[in-house]
C-alpha cells in the first residue's frame, strides 16, 4: 500500500521488462519450478510451453507477485518481485486459465469493478472503458451477465478487465484453453495488436501453432526451463539437428510400419509419426532414395523430402534429452 500510488524507481526505459534469475519454488518436498532464468524484452510476446504440471502456472504466479519464490530473484519492469510485489501488481495485467470474473455481474459492472480496484478516477475510467471496448468488442454485450457469455467472449471480457488500467505487461495463463479455433485466432489478433502498442506479453500455452507466433519461446519440462530462444533459432539449433544429420519427411501407405522399420535402420537417429507421415532424423551419409526403399519397400507412390524441424520436434528432442539426463 504505497500512499501516493507511484512507484519509486527510475523511469529510464527498461528494455528487459521481465527478468528471472534462478527462480525456484518448492511445495514441501515437491519442486515445482527449478532454477529458471530468462529475460523478456519490451513489446515481445514470450510463449511459455510445457506439459501440465510442469510448473508454468507456478512460474507465472511468482512473476505476478502472488507466490513467493523459494529461491532466486526476479523483476518485472525493474521492480523486484520479492521485495515489492504490490508495486508489480499495479503495473501488470493478469488473465488466468480459468474464467475468473464475476458471473452474476454484467460486463460493464465487471469493467467498473476492476477500474475501481486499480483506483481509476471517473474520467479515466470512462476513457479506459471505451478503449478496451473498442479493442475487444465486449461493448456489444454491455449489460449481459458475464456468466451468460460464450467461452470466447468470456476470454475477451477477461482480457478487457485485465487491460482496464493500461498495464505495461500482460500475463496470460493458457488464455485459449477450451475456446473454439475462431475465437482463438481472434484472441491472438488482439494480442498482436497489443504488442504493436508496446505491451509486453507473457503467454503460457499448449498449442504449438501459438508457440510459432511468439517472438520468443521457452519450454519448461519437469520444473526446468530446457529451451529458450526465438523459434527459428531453436529450430536451427545443433542440439536439434546435430552436425552430419538431415531431417526427412516420408509419405507412404503404411506409416506405422515405416516407423518400426526406421527405428531398426542403422544410421537413423530418430523417427516420429506426424499424421500419416514419418519424420526421420538420419545421418547425412544415408541417401534419401535408399532410406525410402528401406522404409517403404515396394511402394511406388511413397515419397521423401528434406524438411526443417518444427517447434514440436525441438521440444520432443529436448525433453527426451532432459529425461535421459535426470534418470
Amino acid at each position: 500500500m504505497n500512499a501516493n500510488g507511484r512507484i519509486t524507481m527510475s523511469d529510464a526505459p527498461v528494455s528487459r521488462v521481465i527478468r528471472a534469475e534462478g527462480l525456484t519454488r518448492r511445495f514441501g518436498a515437491v519442486v515445482a519450478v527449478q532454477g529458471v532464468t530468462f529475460e523478456v524484452s519490451r513489446a515481445a510476446i514470450f510463449g511459455l510451453l510445457g506439459p501440465n504440471g510442469s510448473g508454468k502456472s507456478t512460474l507465472i504466479r511468482m512473476l505476478c507477485g502472488v507466490l513467493r519464490p523459494s529461491e532466486g530473484t526476479g523483476s518485472v519492469l525493474g521492480v523486484d518481485i520479492r521485495r515489492d510485489p504490490e508495486a508489480v501488481k499495479r503495473r501488470i495485467g493478469y488473465m488466468s486459465q480459468k474464467f475468473s470474473l464475476y458471473a452474476d455481474l454484467s460486463v460493464i459492472e465487471n469493467l467498473r469493478f476492476y477500474g475501481r480496484v486499480y483506483g481509476l478516477n471517473a474520467a479515466r475510467q470512462r476513457q479506459r472503458e471505451e478503449a478496451v471496448q473498442a479493442l475487444t468488442g465486449v461493448g456489444e454485450f454491455i449489460d449481459r451477465p458475464a456468466g451468460a457469455l460464450s467461452g470466447g467472449w468470456k476470454q475477451r471480457l477477461a482480457l478487457a478487465c485485465a487491460l482496464i488500467h493500461e498495464p505495461e505487461v500482460l500475463f496470460l495463463d493458457e488464455p485459449t484453453a477450451g475456446i473454439d479455433p475462431v475465437a482463438r485466432r481472434d484472441l491472438w489478433d488482439l494480442l498482436f495488436a497489443l504488442s504493436h502498442q508496446g505491451v509486453t506479453m507473457f503467454v503460457t500455452t499448449h498449442y504449438m501453432d501459438e508457440a510459432e507466433r511468439c517472438t520468443d519461446v521457452g519450454y519448461i519440462y519437469l520444473a526446468r526451463l530446457i529451451a529458450l530462444g526465438r523459434p527459428d533459432d531453436l529450430k536451427a539449433s545443433r542440439d536439434v539437428t546435430p552436425a552430419g544429420t538431415r531431417r526427412f519427411e516420408i509419405t507412404c501407405a503404411h506409416p506405422t510400419d515405416a516407423l518400426a522399420r526406421a527405428r531398426a535402420t542403422p544410421g537413423v537417429r530418430d523417427a516420429t509419426l506426424f499424421g500419416n507421415t514419418v519424420h526421420v532424423l538420419a545421418d547425412a551419409r544415408i541417401l534419401p532414395e535408399a532410406l525410402l526403399a528401406d522404409l517403404a519397400p515396394g511402394e511406388v507412390a511413397a515419397s521423401i523430402r528434406p524438411i526443417a524441424p518444427t517447434l514440436e520436434d525441438v521440444f520432443v528432442i529436448l525433453s527426451r534429452a532432459q529425461s535421459l539426463r535426470t534418470l
Binding site: 501488481k89 488466468s96 464475476y102
Partner: protein, 381 residues
C-alpha cells in the same frame, strides 16, 4: 484500504443479485425464531394418566381430581383391572398410572395410612421427573390439609397464622423474578438470537470468501493492487450491516410475537451485539482460511454450530456439565453473548453485572481476529 470501495460495492451487487442470501439473512432467522421459540418449551404439563380406581368413593374421585388440578396430568383412560393399566403404560398411551386401592376411603376414615400406587414411565426422564415431583408435592399438600382439619377438631395446632387459624409452622414464600409466569420462551428466545446470528454470519462470510477462492476470482484479486485491509473490510462490512439488520428484525419479533420485553439498556445491547458480530465475522473468516471448498466450509461451520447450540448454556445449564465439557463452552463466544442477551433483556443487567461475560466475549474476539487475520494473506498457498 486500497480497493475497499470497489469490493464493498461489488459485494452489495452480489447480495442484490443473489436472492437466497437475502432470504437466508432476513426471512429464515425470523422463521427459525418463531418456530423454535414455540417448539422449545420445557414446561411439561398434561401428562397422560391412566386411572384404576378400585375404591370408587367420593374420596378417591377427589384424589384424581386433585391430580388433574395440578395441570401436570390429564386423565387419558380409566381402566377396571391392573392388566389394562399395565397395557396402557407399556403401549405408551399413558405416561403415568394411579392405582387407588379398595379400602382407600375407609382407611382414611379410620385414621390409618392409605397407600396409593403411582406408576411412572421413566423412559423420558424429564416427563418422569415432573410426574414424580408433582405426585410427591401433592401427597404432602393433601396430608397437610388433613392435618389442618384434624387440628381444627382437636384445637391443637403446631402453629397458627395471625388470624388464629392453624397453619404450617414454616412458611417459605418463593417469589419469581424476571419471568414470573415461567414462560420457557422468555428463557430461550433471547439465547436463540445469539445462535441465529452466529449461524447466519458464519455461513455468509465463510461462503463469500470460499466461493471466490473456488471460482478463481480471489486469485485474480490477489494479482491486483487491492490491499489486504481493503479486501477484508470490503467483503465483511456488508455482512456486518446485514447482521445488524437481522438482529433488529429478530428483536422486534421477540417483543411482538413472544411478548419478551427488553428490560435493560438498548444501547448496551447494541454495543455488545456489535462486538459479537465482529467476533462471528472473524470466525467466518477463520473458516474461510481453512476451507478450500464450500462443502468444507459447511462442515467446519457445523462443527462450530453443534457445541454452540448444545454446550453454550443455550439449551442446558452449563453449571451442571462435567468440567471438560464446561470448558468447551467457555471458549465459544456465543456462550458469553447468550449470557449478555439474557442479562440485558430479562434481568435489566447493566455493564457492571456483565463484566465477566463482556470480558470473555472480548477475549474470544481478540483471539479469533488475531488468528484469522494472520492466516488470511494476499498470497497463494
Amino acid at each position: 484500504m486500497n480497493g475497499f470501495l470497489a469490493i464493498l460495492l461489488k459485494e452489495f451487487a452480489h447480495i442484490r443479485r443473489e436472492r437466497m442470501t437475502i432470504f437466508f439473512t432476513f426471512v429464515v432467522p425470523a422463521l427459525q425464531l418463531t418456530i423454535f421459540g414455540y417448539a422449545i418449551d420445557v414446561t411439561i404439563d398434561h401428562i397422560p394418566l391412566v386411572v384404576l380406581d378400585l375404591d370408587g368413593s367420593q374420596q378417591s374421585r377427589g384424589l384424581v381430581e386433585a391430580m388433574v388440578n395440578t395441570r401436570a396430568f390429564t386423565v387419558s383412560q380409566r381402566v377396571q383391572d391392573l392388566d389394562s393399566l399395565r397395557r396402557a403404560l407399556s403401549s405408551g398411551r399413558a405416561k403415568a398410572g394411579v392405582v387407588i386401592p379398595v379400602e382407600y376411603s375407609e382407611r382414611l376414615l379410620r385414621g390409618e395410612q392409605a397407600q396409593v400406587q403411582v406408576l411412572i414411565d421413566g423412559s423420558d426422564s424429564q416427563v418422569a421427573t415432573t410426574a414424580l415431583n408433582t405426585v410427591g408435592l401433592l401427597a404432602t399438600q393433601l396430608s397437610i390439609r388433613r392435618g389442618q382439619a384434624m387440628a381444627e377438631v382437636t384445637q391443637q395446632a403446631p402453629a397458627r397464622d395471625p388470624e388464629g387459624r392453624p397453619a404450617q409452622p414454616i412458611d417459605l414464600r418463593p417469589r419469581l423474578l424476571y419471568n414470573p409466569d415461567l414462560e420457557s420462551s422468555h428463557f430461550f428466545v433471547p439465547g436463540l438470537i445469539g445462535i441465529i446470528l452466529q449461524l447466519v454470519l458464519l455461513f455468509l462470510t465463510s461462503f463469500s470468501i470460499v466461493r471466490e477462492r473456488e471460482l478463481g476470482t480471489l486469485e485474480q484479486l490477489f494479482v491486483t493492487p487491492v490491499s489486504r485491509a481493503g479486501l477484508l473490510f470490503g467483503k465483511l462490512l456488508p455482512y456486518a450491516i446485514m447482521a445488524f439488520g437481522e438482529m433488529l428484525i429478530v428483536l422486534v419479533l421477540m417483543v411482538a410475537v413472544f411478548g419478551v420485553r427488553i428490560q435493560g439498556s438498548m444501547l448496551l445491547l447494541a454495543a455488545l451485539s456489535a462486538l459479537f458480530i465482529v467476533t462471528a465475522l472473524g470466525l467466518g473468516l477463520l473458516i474461510s482460511t481453512i476451507a478450500k471448498t464450500q462443502l468444507q466450509a459447511i462442515q467446519i461451520a457445523f462443527l462450530i454450530m453443534m457445541p454452540s447450540v448444545l454446550l453454550s448454556g443455550f439449551m442446558f445449564p452449563r453449571a451442571e456439565m462435567p468440567t471438560p465439557i464446561y470448558w468447551i463452552g467457555a471458549v465459544l463466544p456465543v456462550t458469553y453473548f447468550i449470557e449478555i442477551l439474557r442479562g440485558i433483556i430479562l434481568r435489566n443487567a447493566d455493564a457492571i453485572d456483565l463484566v465477566p461475560h463482556v470480558a470473555g466475549l472480548a477475549a474470544c474476539c481478540v483471539v479469533i481476529l488475531t488468528l484469522s487475520l494472520s492466516r488470511f494473506r494476499k498470497q497463494l498457498a
